[in-house]
């Protein structure tokens, strides 16, 4: 069945450094990939989405490129801020499908 894998449970780094959060997926359908961000005691919110192969999508300083050849949609930022500390979920949906499959999430902890 369809699945999403986020290999890191926790990523800790210092403010100003670059970050990459890994996301790979498995599906036999045409994929739509999402990144959701959840700050402490808040609801998850959509950060990025893409279904276009090899096209970079950006929002709020974060960016990701869907690579269908490697089934990946890694989230990156060139310089993390303290406010980026949160739980990040990668999610997969089939185009025009109601159901979304979430990865287990990666906690990003940014140190001063």
């Amino acid at each position: 069945g369809d699945s999403v894998t986020q290999t890191e449970g926790l990523v800790t780094l210092t403010k100003g450094l670059p970050v990459m959060l890994n996301c790979t997926y498995q599906t036999t359908y045409s994929p739509f990939l999402f990144w959701y961000v959840q700050h402490l005691n808040e609801a998850p919110k959509l950060l990025l989405k893409s279904s276009t192969d090899n096209k970079r999508t950006e929002h709020q300083g974060f960016y990701a490129t869907l690579h269908k050849s490697s089934s990946s949609f890694h989230l990156q930022k060139s310089s993390v801020q303290l406010s980026d500390s949160a739980l990040y979920f990668c999610a997969l949906s089939d185009t025009n499908a109601y159901k979304v499959i979430f990865g287990k999430g990666t906690h990003l902890h940014v140190l001063p």
């Binding site: 609801a43 959509l46 989405k49 025009n96 159901k99 979304v100 990865g103």
Partner: protein, 115 residues
Amino acid sequence: DMKVTQMPRYLIKRMGENVLLECGQDMSHETMYWYRQDPGLGLQLIYISYDVDSNSEGDIPKGYRVSRKKREHFSLILDSAKTNQTSVYFCASSLYNTGGSYEQYFGPGTRLTVL
């Protein structure tokens, strides 16, 4: 401003009691969801509702049921709650985008503790 609301935000129940979690949305979205979130397990789908009285089981429906009598409201019911149903429950609604995706909007969550 598009919004999903959940009531109550915090709830403590004893094992065996019935639990009703309420969700509302003001966006006229057809599709709504109930998830539970546990540490290290991410978001697990309990039920999907495609519209009024059109509901489908998600990945972990056992011990739960739902009700949707109006498009704006979606309820999650636990009949005879169990301690392993202690969790944070999120409701979401989704909007179809012309690009082909269902973008989800989440409520603030309900923290349920079953003693």
